[in-house]
Symmetry: C2
Subunit: 463 residues, 2 copies
């Protein structure tokens, strides 16, 4: 281990936090290295957002069967094979992982495959072989599936989200513990392909963080599709059989148990802060998360942490933005970019889709906000009716006095894209009037955004 490589910035991890930070650093003329022990692109690209969206897209194709049958088209599924769905998802993941490798190279970022461990606060050792010294080090090691005692992953009967993404064959039945975004997306995928799904959530609603009316509509829609939902329900234990697993549940004191081929546990994620030699530094942590200031610098000058290892929402786009802020701070770029916690969009790719930011109605009321709620249904959107996707609504929570947008919640077709017009209004401190007065192309789903804004001023047309 003679050679020491010197860099301005070393980034540990090449997920959406790490690779964006590295590319941005290179753009800012910093000599940059990324160290990745797994696949380039991290969880998001390889075993997260991207392959799951490829599965979901195919689930939606698969779910179009009744519509095709309505046109007189007969479908023969005897040679349908879920492995082909899986393979398509791997293709998407591989294409994008290669794409990120290409971008890193194109931007002059050095990529080293291996496991990076802090040796000092300025030095990393890669696989006990290579030494790297960097003026700034960014920890972007992400997170992994959280294991609950008594429900340990066994890569067979008890699955993590990773296991579920990599299934080549679907079980006949599944119990999903946790109805957050990941649980709900898997419920959607598996149900679409004919799996008997039991979705269990400890909190009183699925998607516990979302506005409760959004959650209610999704719940109705899921129940119509025969997805079994158990809210306010705890799992107290499991009993494994040879090819099945029994899950014991407790709902408000009542016990029941479910037997299914597989159990999928998606109750949370834990930051990957072990095994990177953090103990060789004085970096402060808090319950496993790395403590940072608003530039994402840790308690040690020159060491930064971004993404799932810090205590902000575990979202790819949050990691990317944090990476950008950290790197611009390192480069001395003067900005006052800050992450507004009420301006972070979230999206869930079930059907109907869910997307939102800011205050839920309940949050706003709890905090004593004098707020107005405007709810515009997809049934009032011509395009939605024309294409048979009229399930959903746009819900705006605004300040009754000023009109300020406190939160926006969309459930329905293309919600994940539609939310951005509202978010731009919020982040640029525009008012519903600005959207309400703007001419929107007809017929588009975006007209629903316009109408929700008009509704908040009592001048919607189609309601």
């Amino acid at each position: 281990m003679s050679e020491i490589l010197d860099f301005d910035v070393a980034v540990i991890g090449s997920g959406p936090g790490g690779y964006v930070a590295a590319i941005r650093a290179a753009q800012l003329k910093l000599k940059t290295v990324v160290i990745e022990k797994g696949e380039i692109g991290g969880v998001c690209l390889n075993i997260g957002c991207i392959p799951s969206k490829a599965l979901i897209y195919q689930a939606e194709l698969f779910r179009s069967q009744p519509e095709l049958q309505k046109l007189g088209i007969k479908l023969d599924l005897t040679e349908f094979n879920y492995e082909k769905v899986y393979l398509e998802s791997r293709k998407a993941a591989n294409t994008l992982s290669k794409g990120v490798s290409f971008l890193l190279k194109k931007n002059g970022v050095t990529v080293i495959k291996g496991n990076a461990v802090f040796q000092t606060e300025k030095e990393l050792i890669i696989d006990d072989k290579q030494k790297i010294r960097a003026k700034s080090i960014i920890i972007a090691t992400g997170s992994g599936p959280k294991e609950i005692p008594g429900f340990e992953f066994d890569n067979n009967l008890v699955m993590s989200s990773t296991d579920a993404l990599l299934l080549k064959e679907l079980p006949k039945s599944v119990v999903i513990l946790g109805a957050g975004a990941i649980g709900v997306e898997f419920a959607h995928i598996m149900n679409a392909f004919g799996v008997e799904v039991h979705l269990v959530e400890m909190m009183p609603q699925i998607l516990p963080g979302e506005d409760n009316e959004i959650s209610e509509l999704l719940q109705r829609s899921f129940r119509k599709r025969q997805i079994n939902i158990y809210t306010s329900t705890k799992a107290s234990g499991i009993k494994k059989g040879e090819n099945s697993v029994e899950v014991k549940l407790e709902t408000e004191g009542e016990q029941k148990s479910l037997i299914a081929d597989k159990l999928l546990v998606v109750t949370g994620r834990v930051p990957n802060t072990e095994g990177i030699g953090l103990e060789k530094t004085s970096v402060k942590t808090d319950k496993g998360f790395i403590s940072v200031n608003s530039n994402y610098e840790t308690s040690i000058k020159g060491i930064y942490a971004i993404g799932d290892v810090v205590k902000t929402p575990l979202l790819a786009h949050v990691a990317s933005k944090e990476g950008e802020i950290a790197v611009e701070h390192i480069a001395g770029v003067k900005t006052n970019k800050k992450l507004d916690p009420y301006g972070i969009p979230g999206a869930v790719y079930c059907e109907p889709q869910v997307a939102s930011f800011g205050y839920t109605e309940a949050d706003a009321r709890k905090q004593g906000k004098d707020c107005k709620v405007s709810r515009f249904p997809y049934k009032g959107i011509g395009k939605a009716v024309a294409v048979g996707k009229s399930d959903g609504f746009v819900k705006l929570v605004t300040d009754s006095q000023t009109g300020e947008i406190l939160g926006a919640h969309v459930i329905g077709s293309e919600a994940s894209d539609l939310i951005h017009e509202l978010l731009l209004a919020k982040s640029a401190e525009l008012l519903p009037t600005d959207i309400a007065d703007m001419i929107h192309a007809h017929p588009t789903l975006s007209e629903g955004i316009m109408e929700a804004a008009r509704l908040s001023e009592n001048r919607a047309i189609h309601i």
Copy 2:
């Protein structure tokens, strides 16, 4: 004809101009009547935007066959029947027409079915029976397919867009004259269902009004699908056979002719200003269009005209906005709403979709603007790659000095919705920076909008 009904506002025509004007008038406490001689909702709802979007949605479903086959699903088309596609489109049109009737009623608007003719500048006669007197009259009679001498519609071999929308059986081959939005959408629909399509355009590009790079990509995509395209080509005449029609074409001096089952002529539309007794008023017209001021008031105080009868873009959403402006003027609402010609979005529902507003690159350069062009490809959008829709790009035309958004052009999946984030930025006088810095949910197509904005500041990540 004894009774005279008195109203504050009488609206002639219940299309997207008329019905929106009427509802808005009712909201503003004006006693309002709408007179409609055809179906409630006008062309747009009944034989325009809405049924065509229903056909297009089904065309897209139909085109998903190769993707389904990739999953091992076999499709049997022997009982496929285009009439079912047609019937679905009628269902959508009827639902929405009924919806508008309901909205009019709910808002207290009187609806009279019949043909309205001016008797004086304050009075209309309906079907020679009923007399209506109104303080303000809004002409919202829309437009109809334009007939070209030598290519007259015969409701059989030579079709208008209305005829094409109402086909219960598709021809084996079609020549489409005119590659504007309507022509391109029918080319998309008919090709999707296996019709041999010949698309003829006099101008040097299909979608003549769009940015030429957008048009080029669409053209390549159409050619890949075996749509035959003839640009810079005039049709000089036709010869009808028993079940086919020969169309003579001339391309830069060269003659050729095409024989097809049907000819669809979609070269333009003409305002419906005949037969409404305009000659009984002193309302000024200009080449068939009614002349109006910026409040959509004609040369006669109290008579307004909106939508396709005035010389603004023939778009449903333009008509609606004009209706709103006219009514608010009538009601004395103080606004400074104006239609900015560079802020009107247009959308074409082919595949890939096209949406745009403002200056094309060529327009900007022609007008001597010091402009910057930023072109971000869908291939750089994770979601687009994950769902196999990576054909397309977002093109921004900005002022080199100030960053001001001069125009935006999107071709690709969901373009018609995505355009609105950019349009909001433009209409609220925001800059690309505002979009570039805003956190966008991952993975969404909207990230392509963010990246185009970042690109205009040389800080895109995924290119």
